[in-house]
Symmetry: C2
Subunit: 109 residues, 2 copies
Amino acid sequence: MTITARNLFTGASAPAGVEQCLTLFESANVRVERIVSNTHSSPADFWYDQPEDEWVMVLRGQATLEFAGGGSVAMRAGDHVTIASHVRHRVMETGADTIWLAVHVKPQP
Amino acid sequence: MTITARNLFTGASAPAGVEQCLTLFESANVRVERIVSNTHSSPADFWYDQPEDEWVMVLRGQATLEFAGGGSVAMRAGDHVTIASHVRHRVMETGADTIWLAVHVKPQP
């Protein structure tokens, strides 16, 4: 049996202002995603409101998350947070070709 | 509500020959783990044989995984593989203070 590694940094570039998502692993319960954000922010007054928990880290670059209840968190490479279900949040800003790694717990039937 | 980021590289050092695990996120379905391996290898003739899939990447350093059916995969920073359930594998070698990020799908009742 041959297992080949893929590299997460390959092709990790997006046009300015754009966010690109790539699924790296998926099972019935979880989805692991690479997100490349190049000087991207969520639309004004847009809030993510997810039914399940998400764990996310910055792999390269920097970013700031904003929370609907007030407050924000500035993140650099290696920083990680857990965003509990229904904690409304948005991407306030990201640096050039910032890479996120997101682990999404999938809703269960 | 205040969310604080933790940094994955903080304290990411282990004694020579040792592997240290830290759970970063856990839910009913998934566990995300940081593994620091400092010139570590699995015991000879030891094979991991896991009931569920695992997705793993090298965040820093380098490592080689070996598979029971023959073959190995050399991994550097950014490289990731999916190890399907019951694919027997072991850590052949790692570099100094190599950091893995592992996403373990948990067995379901």
